[in-house]
Amino acid sequence: MKISQAEEERLQEYIDGTLSAVEKDQVEQLIKNSPALQSRLSELNMLDTTLRSTRMEHPSDRFTHSIMGKLQAASLGNTSLSLRNSVFLLAGVLLVVGIGSVLVGSGVFDGTSSIDLNETLKNKYIPESFPTITLSGKLIMNIIIIINLAIAFIILDRAVLKPWFARRTRMHA
């Protein structure tokens, strides 16, 4: 005779000892009168006894050492700047670029100046004449701004985006 799902549930609760005293008596009465339930209880008991001998498994002796080694290697490989500090550094560089652009735009560096080396050096120390060097403030500022922009891109890539994506990969791997 096949037993019902409700009876199956009752038997499992009986094995787990989660029934009240009254329920337990009722189930024992049912078992007493049903060979099918007796047989099923015997199967479940056999399974329960075997599963109770389930033991904890232990990893290899190198387990902890291996994790600590990986953590150490990762921290050595990391950039010395934290993500927050990298963002501050990037903001600082961009601020310099911004201020420089504003100053160039407002015409502060529009003038030129020249250095005439002949005035100071010729005849005094060296007999030959030197060419006059003309300096354009705007050109110099533009070069500084371009160099700062390149630095900003490198910082953004190496110190901000790469560590950020690496962290995300580690979290979602």
């Binding site: 199956e8 549930e9 499992q12 099923r40 199967e43 479940l44 056999m46 399974l47 329960d48 075997t50 599963l51 109770r52 001998s53 389930t54 904890m56 498994e57 232990h58 990893p59 290899s60 387990f63 902890t64 291996s66 994790i67 600590m68 990986k70 953590l71 150490q72 990762a74 921290s75 962290r167 580690r170 979290m171 791997a173």
Partner: protein, 183 residues
């Protein structure tokens, strides 16, 4: 638990070497959870190690509302499940397991044989059912804790344990009947 939280605070503050203490405390359970899901020791070891590394990097996000162990085992569970999904193709197919039954079923069913057959029956269960019944029988976790690790309600865990046990009992019964025929 306060001591454990102090230990975690020190690790977050930079004393990385103290993490070894947490690993030693929980490695066996973490490894057992991974092994019950993956059923392969080297893969379980690798996965459990990855989970510990992930937990280390996320230590500052541990909100301390649950036990550290429950939080850690949840990471182990998720890591093992996603590892299994990624490497699904190389896992042993269930058909092979069934063939294994028939070929090995020559001996009497002693305790060790029963254990082996139950292990084979376990491989037919889905991951959540298998883990639920395994954690339940490690007798370390309450139904609520098993729920917290696997992301299920305690009542769902109970249902899964019952369902898994029912399937395993049926499996064992079938094997016993086959054994009886061969005697």
């Amino acid at each position: 638990m306060t001591n454990e939280f102090l230990l975690i605070d020190r690790i977050i503050a930079g004393e990385q070497q103290l993490y070894a203490e947490l690993i030693n405390r929980y490695k066996s359970y973490a490894f057992t959870i991974a092994l019950k899901i993956l059923q392969n020791r080297p893969e379980a070891e690798e996965t459990a190690q990855d989970a510990f590394i992930k937990a280390y990097h996320a230590l500052d996000k541990f909100n301390r509302e649950s036990k550290f162990s429950t939080w850690l085992y949840r990471i182990v569970f998720n890591t093992a499940i996603s590892y299994k999904r990624k490497h699904k193709a190389i896992f042993q197919s269930l058909d092979n397991v069934v063939i294994g039954h028939a070929q090995e079923g020559e001996n009497r069913l002693e305790h060790d044989d029963r254990k082996r057959f139950i292990e084979q029956g376990m491989s037919k269960l889905n991951d959540a059912d298998r883990l639920a019944v395994n954690l339940f029988y490690l007798q370390e976790f309450s139904l609520e804790e098993i729920g917290a690790i696997t992301g299920m309600q305690a009542n769902t865990v109970k249902v899964r344990v019952h369902r898994a046990r029912q399937k395993l009992a049926d499996e064992l019964k079938n094997i016993l009947q086959k054994e009886a025929l061969t005697l």
